[in-house]
Amino acid sequence: MDPLLTEALKNFIEEYTAVTGRGIIQHLEQLAAPLKGAKVVHINSTREGGGVAEILQKLIPFKQALGIDARWEVITGSAPFYQCTKGFHNALQGMRVGIPDGLLREYEATNARSAEELRTLLEEADFVFIHDPQPAALLAHCPNRKGKWIWRCHIDVSHPYRSVWRYLEKWVAPYDASIFSLPEFTQTLPHPQYIIPPSIDPLSEKNRDLPEAEVESAWRQFNLDPELPMILQVSRYDRFKDPLGVVEAFNLASKRTPLQLVLAGGGASDDPEGEAVLSEVRQAVHGNPHIHVLLLPANAHRTINALQRAADIVLQKSIREGFGLTVAEAMWKGKPVVGGDTGGIRLQVIDHFTGFLVRTPEGAALRVRYLLHRRDILNEMGERARRFVWENYLVTRHLREYLTLMVGLLHGSEDRIEVGL
């Protein structure tokens, strides 16, 4: 291996060791030992932007540092290809919109062309991880594949538009295994379905420690009142995230407990529904100077990081949620989370321990007031929340499960697999 790359990977591991502790890294090294030299290829459809690219940016060097020959390839297509895959994305999450045949043919042609370009790599790989539906049809074009192929579905496909799922099912059924983020997200498929929840990267711009001055500057930047406690919700302006419920909770809580609310969401220019929700939120706020509705650019990771660190309590009052990684992000910063009792929030917010699960604005208001009046409990919960994320939702746990899955797939369906003993 190139000495410069070796050095870079060594530094990479050392950076994580400083956060996770040596024991966790050693555990990964031991687990990866039987996979040394294995050729692993990950395929998705974008190198920048989005959760999948974010996680691959870390998983690939991590695997390389552990001696695995890991590569990441991206397939690209024409505008109709992306139109088709956007349609898949919406339909898999339940939107009842079919996809025209012409777009499906473009999807198939793009996969066929990509398979030609990547054939040697794919057919010689020991493990191929295909992320989401975009490259799912590659497998059908690699009849001489020798390794295990795994479809990693990052989407909740529990209630898909059936006709679109039936189309995709024929591409993903022949895989050796699939991975979903939660048991709730799965569909019946004729192969093992592994459950691997997502994770956060403690060293990303979104999550790494920030200088105190940078956190303080967030107060000035957004004209927040340094004398008032601050509660925060970070999410798109989407009805399922219930920003109006958050405003209502704030109004109830602030009647007797002085505080301020920050709603921080991304731009809504390409999302008519998002614009409508944002407009409703602004109406509901009625110019209240203690409610700050922020529209931040997609790459405002450090700003979000600073706001989460500046907050006293973080809310994620969703009424429907996938996994909700903003919860783990807040918890990693030592904040208790008042979260909606739904989806993956339930796995992260342990009611009364790392935060509170609520179903109504009244419930959220009650818990916010309680925590602001009981700083001792707020601090204890925040500490527990950080430890809980450290143990369960960092990228190192994610990688451990990938490695376990790979070793598992090499040994068939046994419950207990002993390697190198």
Binding site: Q30, Y194, I196, R346, R400, L403, D415, R416, I417, G420
Partner: protein
């Protein structure tokens, strides 16, 4: 039980193993108590084991309200505290085989179904997903020739090692005991007291970190008393 292995051999140094777990969906879920009973009857044995023990290696909080996934769901999903309490008091180590354990769980659920006209049909706020898991066991490289050598290492032993030697051991060893006491037993009377104390630890009510703490304290106390 031909697949059971003897506990650790005292003539050999104690070899510390570690393990990691990956969860797999069974595709079976329950929305109400009737479906729950049906699921319990047909899931693989590994799923029963996973919801009692494997959960310890999954993301979970250290102080769960109930001691197994079944009881937790019955309480949180069905809001049936009575049944949750009964299920929580099924102690898996009381059963020789997983089939017996499964039978007991089904019995308790059936009893509840008989007691209540509403219970069979009450829809859960969230379904129960039956899971199972694959566990990969590997060598940590750590070896201990003498029990006293373990004392300083025990506090930093991984939770995977604790699971393998303290929980998994009860499933795979002839004496249905943890590997530490199995190894100590081979030294004869010299460590019988230490071995007995370890056998008294009931892992069912503790997280892996708590078990590690208890095991560490037992070792520390023993070697303080008999330096």
């Amino acid at each position: 039980m031909s697949d059971l292995k003897p506990a650790e051999d005292p003539a050999q140094p104690f070899a510390v193993r570690d393990c990691a777990l990956i969860t797999i969906a069974t595709g079976i879920q329950a929305q109400n108590l009737k479906e729950f009973r049906e699921g319990l009857q047909k899931v693989p044995q590994g799923s029963i084991y996973h919801h009692f023990w494997g959960r310890l290696l999954r993301a979970q909080f250290d102080e769960p309200e109930f001691n197994n996934d079944f009881a937790s769901w019955v309480f949180r999903g069905l809001h049936d505290r009575e049944l949750a309490e009964r299920l929580s008091m099924i102690i898996p180590n009381d059963f020789e085989a997983l089939e017996e354990l499964r039978h007991e769980v089904v019995e308790v659920v059936e009893q509840r179904l008989d007691e209540s006209e509403l219970a069979p049909w009450s829809m859960a706020g969230q379904p129960f997903f039956f899971l199972h898991a694959q566990t990969v066991v590997f060598d940590s490289g750590l070896r201990f020739a003498h029990p006293a050598d373990m004392v300083s290492y025990l506090p930093s032993l991984s939770t995977g090692s604790i699971f393998y030697h303290f929980i998994d051991a009860r499933r795979r060893t002839e004496g249905r005991r943890d590997d530490f006491s199995g190894w100590l037993k081979g030294f004869g009377e010299k460590y019988s007291d230490l071995s007995d104390r370890l056998c008294q630890v009931d892992p069912y009510f503790s997280s892996l970190k708590e078990i590690r703490k208890m095991v560490t304290e037992i070792f520390q106390l023993h070697f303080e008393e008999r330096p």
